[in-house]
Structures are given as structure tokens and as C-alpha cells.
Symmetry: C2
Subunit: 306 residues, 2 copies
């Protein structure tokens, strides 16, 4: 089958390459360890050449931190509210080893301000697969820096970052709460207890309760090996509490979550304790998003997309 597009998902710690046919089906995938923080000798061009080696000379579209200030070429953020078409109209190009590389801009919510880079393409990937979410929905992308994205009438209207994953790492690795503890052991009850504490903290929020990770342990009612799960529950719970308080989520509508695995399972359990509904969004969102943006930008030959 004819190759019509190459897509690159190029973040801080990963580089994934997709080769598409004319209908947007992924014919071949590659995963390289060359995130922008860990490039091979030869830097960006060398990593790029490996990612696309032997593939036909078709348009290449990349999203993620490759377009950041520390990336290959800084691509200015596009302000929300915005649409897929406006995103596609704001690509920046770069001559890369004889090919033309198109870079997707990140998004900026000027009302906070807040920024994302890479997640905008995941959001587009959900939209193309779930038109009803695009009309009126909320997307959650959990992670080191979780993103909450509001969608209305096909537009990305705004978003916010909560540093839940990074804060968890800081507290468990460097704070009095987590440092010098024995290795963590899975304890779902401790996780649920943390979620419940965050929920019950009300407007004061979980920072008013986070010292309890230590005092419960001193009290003998929380095992030292369970402190990490308790903190995980407290912080993920606080993220949900924030989402409700800020109006990003409410009990009457469902939140769509992008991702899978153990972290997403934690969000599902926490949402249950909050009485919130979180649904898992369609998979393979980045590869779908790259295809959709390329199509909107006119990078795909029209006979292929017809």
C-alpha cells in the first residue's frame, strides 16, 4: 500500500514514528529512545534520520517537545480557544535531512496562562474518534503534569495543568513524608484512604492534610510501606477535588480520560470515591491526531483522502 504520511510523536523521553497509508491506517511503527533530553550523537538530525530511514519521501509531521524552546526548533504556542483547522494552519516547517518536517504548535490558554505541547495532538486524536466529546466535553490526560481540557462545539476552549505526578515524586523522594521510608508495598486501602481524605478536605484542600501521611504513620495506623499509596490517593484525590471546585468536572457529566495502565486505574478508583464518572477515551490518540492535523493542513494527497 502507498505511504502517504509519516508522523512523529517526539517528547522529552521518547520518539515514536508512524508510517500511514492513504486512509490513515498505520502500516508500520517505530519506537526509538531518542527523546529530546537523550539524543544520540548527531543530535536531532541523527535521531530524525533513524526514525524515518528507508521510508518513502512523503510529508513528515511531528508533535511534542521537539517544538519547544529546548527542542529542534521553537514553534510558538497557539492560543485557545482554537480548532483543529487553526492548529493545522499554524504548522512550522524545517528542512530535516533533505525532507520537509512540519511541526505542530503547542497550545496556550492565555486566561491562566497555561501551556501544553504534544497533548494537543492527543486531544485532536480523541475528537476525530468521538464527535460527541468534541461538542461538549472534558478530557483528562493524567501524568507528571496532568491536563484538563475543555471542549465546546469542536473547539478546544481552555485547559489547566495540575502537577500531580511531579508533586508525588517530590514528596515521596525528597520530603520528610517519604524520604527514609522502607520500599513501598501496594496497599489499595491506603490509596482509598488518601482519596477520601482529599475529598473530605473541602475548600481547604489536601495541602491542609498532607502532613497526615507522617502523623498517621507515627500513630501506627498507616504502615510505613503504605505511605506512598496514601500520598498517591491524597494527590490524585486532590486533583479531582480541584477539578470539581474549578468547574472542570461535575457529577452530572462524564470526563473522558486519555491513557491506560496503572495510573489511569488509580484515577478510575478515585473518581468512584468522588462519585464522578470517568470514561477511557479511544486509544492510539496521538497517531490519529497526527493524521487528522496533516489532513486538515493539506499534507495528504487529495486522491488518497478521497
Amino acid at each position: 500500500m502507498t505511504t502517504c504520511l509519516i508522523g512523529l510523536d517526539w517528547g522529552s523521553t521518547h520518539l515514536r514514528a508512524y508510517r500511514y497509508d492513504g486512509q490513515g491506517q498505520v502500516l508500520e511503527k517505530r519506537a526509538l529512545p531518542y527523546g529530546i533530553r537523550q539524543l544520540p550523537e548527531g543530535g536531532f538530525p541523527a535521531a530524525f534520520e533513524q526514525a524515518v530511514a528507508q521510508w518513502p519521501d512523503v510529508p513528515v509531521l511531528a508533535c511534542g517537545m521537539v517544538g519547544s524552546r529546548n527542542g529542534w526548533l521553537e514553534v510558538p504556542y497557539l492560543d485557545t480557544p482554537t480548532s483543529v483547522d487553526r492548529l493545522a494552519g499554524a504548522l512550522t516547517t524545517l528542512n530535516a535531512a533533505g525532507r520537509t518536517l512540519h511541526l505542530v504548535p503547542g497550545l496556550r490558554d492565555p486566561s491562566r496562562p497555561d501551556v501544553m505541547r504534544g497533548e494537543e495532538t492527543q486531544v485532536v486524536g480523541v475528537l476525530v474518534q468521538s464527535p460527541e466529546i468534541a461538542r461538549h466535553g472534558c478530557l483528562l490526560l493524567p501524568g507528571t503534569h496532568s491536563k484538563w481540557v475543555s471542549l465546546r462545539d469542536g473547539e478546544m476552549t481552555g485547559f489547566a495543568t495540575v502537577m500531580t505526578g511531579e508533586l508525588f515524586a517530590l514528596l515521596t523522594q525528597h520530603s520528610i513524608l517519604g524520604a527514609s521510608l522502607p520500599p513501598a508495598v501496594d496497599d489499595e486501602n491506603a490509596f482509598r484512604r488518601g482519596v477520601g481524605t482529599a475529598r473530605d478536605s473541602g475548600a481547604a484542600g489536601a495541602l491542609s492534610r498532607v502532613f497526615s501521611a507522617r502523623t498517621l504513620m507515627l500513630d501506627g495506623s498507616l504502615a510505613a510501606t503504605s505511605v506512598a499509596d496514601y500520598l498517591s490517593g491524597l494527590l490524585i484525590g486532590d486533583e479531582l477535588r480541584i477539578a470539581v471546585a474549578a468547574g472542570w468536572a461535575d457529577a452530572s457529566s462524564s470526563v473522558q480520560m486519555v491513557g491506560e495502565g496503572a495510573l489511569c486505574d488509580r484515577y478510575l478508583k478515585a473518581a468512584d470515591i468522588f462519585g464522578l464518572t470517568i470514561r477511557q477515551a479511544p486509544d492510539a490518540t496521538t497517531s490519529h491526531g497526527l493524521w487528522r492535523i496533516a489532513a486538515a493542513a493539506g499534507l495528504i494527497p487529495t486522491q488518497a483522502t478521497a
Copy 2:
């Protein structure tokens, strides 16, 4: 003048010794670098001997981390609500280099749970100097682990810890927000901007806004050298927001703050932005508190106190 008591303020990083006359006046002070984390050769006994060397053989009363699990002897916490008399009745004694050392218990608020060790003596020191606060007041002890203490009818009714100082250190030293930044430069406007952002975050709280320390810098509207002051304002502001949301403080009554110096100045400025009144409590609270507890415990000869 006759020496009637020796008091020790023995924390994680400091050891201060006070020699009192029979009226509770401090005749002599010593400061040693022997906090419980940095003891000299010979450990606790050696540090103790240096602290009281050449002083008369009178009762010795110590407060602080010396009575913690990692201290000289673990003294069980006393639960709130409690009074000075009950605190004085719960001293634990230890034979120390031929002298009797009395240790003040820490306090535990079982409703959260929360704990303090050392601060309870500072609180007593304020009470003895300010009876009106003891009747109905709120005490703030800013620091790595800030404490908010409620007082009613002479009793310490409950308290809570907010890890503002530690969180500030974590975010500025280890997080994406603060790591790899140039050295901080004082910027009061950035501090005030952080406080205002925390105040305006409402029930969602400052964790919903903390990523702005990075995005404002990327935006060019916050200097990289001002990120630390912005984060300081955001976190101290969030502590005040929490205090209001949790009912520890309100606009109609004043909070008494124990301490002085640059950190307390930040709390005064932040309180002003919140429309809260914070007053500085009387100084030398620990030495006053030790004297008051010793008197209530009957450690001072009655002819001296009469």
C-alpha cells in the same frame, strides 16, 4: 542571684540553654550547634553536659525534638484539648549526667491526627504573656512546617500543620518550576502577585495554579530570577487561603504570629492582601514557656516563686 531552673530548647538543629533566677528571669543563655541531628561525639549526654556545664544542680526542663522517636528518650504525645497544667503533669524524667532532666511532651491533635514537639512550649510562652489570646485566639507559628493553634478558655483545643516551608524548598530546588533557574533576586511584586493568585484560586486552591510559575516565565511576564518570590507568595498565600477555608482564621479576629524576621514579614504582607489581621506575639516565647511549665510542675522551689 540564685539559680532556680535550667531550661533547654532542644530541636533538630539547635540546642539553647537558659539559666533562670527565682522570678523566671533569664540570667544567662547559651547556644550550641548540637541539634539532635548533629550531636557531638558522646551523643546526647555529651551535648547535655556542655549545655549545663558549671551551672548549679537545679531542675532541668527540656522541650523539642529531644523527646521524639529519634531523640534521647521518646516522650508520648499528650492529646488536645489540653492545658498548661496537664502538660506540666505529663513530664517524663531521665537521669542525665547525674542530674534529673524533665522532658516536655509534644502535643497530638487526635481529630486530624496532627503532632507538634517544641511548639507547645512556645504556645505556653505566649499564653503566659497574653491572657486575652488564651481566652479565645489563634496562634500561627510559621516555618518549614507551619502550625496553626486554636486556643479557648486557656486550653489548646487543636492545631494543624501546613508544610509551606518544605514545599517551597521542594519546588524551588527539585521541581521543573524552580530547578535550573538563575539565582533568585528579591522581587516584592512577584511575591504579591503569587499571594494574589493564591487568594483568587478560591476553593480550587494554589495547586491548581502552581504551574503558572513556569508558564508566566515562558510568557516573558515573570523574570526567571523572580520565580522563587512568586512561589513564596503562592504558597504562603495558599496557607492563608487554607486557614480561612478551614476556619482557623477569619477577617473579624486577629491571628497572633510567633516569630520574627524575613519569613514573618512575608506573612504580614500576605495577610494584608487577604484582608486578615496578623499581630506579632510576644518574643522569647520558648524561654517563658519552659519557666511556666516548670512552675506548674512544681519544679521551682515555692519560696522562689512566692
